[in-house]
């Protein structure tokens, strides 16, 4: 029996692994073909011949030589693709012609800040959203449930970039409680780690608050609907028939079962959190990947846009894959869908 189960699990993992590989392949193809399929070659955007480059990014001869070598200009397409993959495997994501630095190096500088910001916000949003969702499902149909539902949906009506701007305007500029810009104060560079740590957290506060508020509604709605589904199951009715306390039914019986689909959905929507990250980092001048994307967009630095897209996608995929691994061991019912 256990043997069969184990086989089912490994088939599941193989299938999922295949899905991840094909996704990665598609992302690579997108990144490879986009600059090559667009009208003109990648360089016409930089030399000012193209309509969109009224942005006057000039390409000096050194950068152009590096780029021509990187793209393999002049080689047949299949050779270019091999070169592209070879470069990627060596961690070479191309050369940023505006920033005058390798893309991989730029991303490596920015990535830790983004991870810090996004992971903190997602965890906070999940805790708040799931707690509120359980509570709402528990008190379903009452004024409290309605109130929660309306508040969370109204919250989602405020665009993330407007919400962030308001918080920055009122709490930083008007009230002066939080810093105006960046992730740390330069003048505190020589102080003790305790002072520096406090400084970093102080800079993180508003970006995390904004991203948490942006992400919380989705988690709330998911949990609420998963809980409402679970509450109709027979074992809940049985638990109620046994005379268990309502709180015990909610947290011991319903929540663990409702949580699995919720966690999967949260993982699936990690890609959406990348959007919030771009807005939040742009507003607060937070030096992460999102800010890098926005800067690259403003000067049309395509190497950076492609590199950040690739890394963001791979990170989302990797976290999904890790979660899949956990999932198989958490839930014995997992099979190939």
């Amino acid at each position: 029996m256990s043997c069969i189960k184990k086989e089912g699990r490994s088939t599941y993992l193989y299938t999922r692994g295949g899905e991840y590989l094909s996704t990665i392949l598609i992302i690579l193809c997108l990144n490879f073909f986009l600059p090559r399929l667009m009208p003109g070659d990648p360089f016409s955007y930089l030399t000012g011949q193209n309509a969109s480059s009224d942005l006057s990014t000039t390409l000096d001869s050194k950068s152009e030589a590096i780029l021509r070598a990187y793209y393999g200009v002049g080689d047949p397409l299949w050779k270019q693709f091999c070169l592209y993959c070879q470069n990627l495997l060596h961690g070479n994501l191309g050369y940023a012609y505006y920033f005058k630095a390798p893309v991989a190096q730029l991303i490596a500088q920015r990535l830790p800040w983004s991870l810090f910001l996004v992971v903190t916000s997602i965890l906070l949003a999940s805790v708040i959203g799931i707690t509120a969702g359980v509570f709402s499902a528990w008190k379903r149909g009452t004024v409290l449930d309605r109130g929660f539902w309306i508040i969370f949906l109204s919250l989602r009506s405020i665009p993330t970039f407007f919400l962030g701007t308001l918080l920055l305007l009122f709490l930083s500029f008007q009230a002066g409680i939080f810093p105006l810009f960046g992730a740390y104060s330069i003048e505190k560079a020589g102080s003790t780690w305790l002072v520096q740590g406090k400084d970093i957290l102080w800079h993180l506060a508003l970006p995390v608050l904004t991203l948490t508020l942006a992400e919380v509604t989705g988690k709330y709605l998911l949990t609420r609907s998963a809980m409402l589904d679970t509450l109709e199951e027979d074992y809940i009715i049985f638990a109620r028939a046994r005379g268990l306390a309502e709180s015990q039914i909610m947290y011991r019986h319903a929540l663990p079962n409702a949580l699995l689909p919720v966690v999967t959905q949260i993982a699936l929507r990690l890609g959406m959190a990348a959007a919030g990250m771009i807005y939040v980092e742009t507003i607060f001048g937070y030096p992460g990947m999102g800010k890098l994307m926005q800067e690259a967009l403003a000067v049309r630095d395509f190497s950076v846009l492609q590199g950040t897209f690739l890394i963001t996608s791979l990170l989302v995929l990797a976290s999904n894959f890790l979660l899949d691994l956990f999932y198989v061991y958490l839930d014995p019912r997992v099979e190939v869908r």
Binding site: S225, M272, A275, F302
Partner: protein
């Protein structure tokens, strides 16, 4: 619940009227340099002027047109295209369906906004670019919704009966499936419009938009690009109004969409 839907509908109607009567309500054309830069509100300029001396009130009213146009176009096209693909895929199944499902899985895991930025950056900043990118990124979700609905409808007995009586595929779809799908499609049109308005203003905010087309997102972006905006009182009439307008419109779409969903589909749980 229906009261909230009513409020949403009223707000939406109000914005539609604003958009329709824009030329009569505004004293200037939104791109006219009708005053000095950064004027404070006066009877000549109800919401002052922006950094280049254009009337903010006129921009705001005309911005309603841009937002509603984008909401309508994107939701119509993506629902139409996604609906047809979803219907065919759910109805015929087999390899078309498997292919679509694989595509959807991949599509859903890829982070959308970074790819949108990458894609849109290749095209000249124009309204058409924004609309094209938004349709490209929204039809798969419509296809997924319609497909799953078709799958559950397909099992109904009256459909089987009609088929046994000799009904052709297109007749089954046209006579039975499409009418059954209409409620879903209507509420989806409203919710998709809300998404499109939000996404457009976001793209404009990040710098992907035609600066001469003053959508609400573009006004907001231009206000923030003016460096002293937070230090001068101008934010009150330059930065707040477009943000509040976007929020109100999204609010209206959201609650109207959920109200429609609930009304047409009583078996559906609220808020799902």
């Amino acid at each position: 619940m229906s009261r909230l839907g009513l409020i949403g509908g009223t707000i939406l109607l109000f914005f539609c009227l604003l958009a329709f009567f824009a030329p009569f309500l505004t004293p200037y054309s939104p791109n006219n340099f009708s005053g000095q830069p950064l004027e404070i509100p006066s009877t000549r300029h109800l919401l002052g002027t922006d950094g280049s001396g254009q009337d903010i009130f006129s921009q705001l009213i005309y911005g309603t047109r841009v937002s509603l146009l984008i909401g309508l176009t994107v939701s119509l096209f993506s629902t139409l295209f996604g609906g047809v693909v979803g219907l065919l895929s759910g109805f015929y199944g087999k390899w078309i369906d498997r292919l679509l499902m694989r595509f959807l899985d991949i599509f859903l895991t890829i982070p959308h906004l970074p790819l949108m930025l990458l894609l849109a950056a290749y095209f000249p900043p124009a309204l058409v670019t924004t609309i094209f990118v938004l349709i490209l990124f929204s039809w798969p979700l419509e296809a997924k919704l319609v497909r799953s609905q078709v799958l559950s409808l397909k099992k109904r007995e009256y459909l089987e009966a009609a088929r046994l009586a000799g009904a052709k595929d297109y007749y089954l779809m046209y006579r039975y499936l499409i009418p059954e799908l209409t409620p879903l499609i209507v509420s989806q049109l409203v919710l998709r419009s809300s998404w499109a308005v939000l996404a457009e203003s976001g793209l404009a905010f990040l710098g992907l938009g035609d600066p001469s087309i003053k959508s609400w997102g573009m006004i907001l972006k231009q206000a923030i690009s003016y460096e002293a905006i937070y230090f001068t009182p101008n934010w009150q009439w330059w930065l707040l109004p477009p943000g509040i307008c976007i929020t109100l419109l999204i609010f209206a779409f959201t609650f109207l969409g959920y109200a429609l969903e609930e009304k047409f589909n009583p078996t559906l749980k609220e808020g799902v």
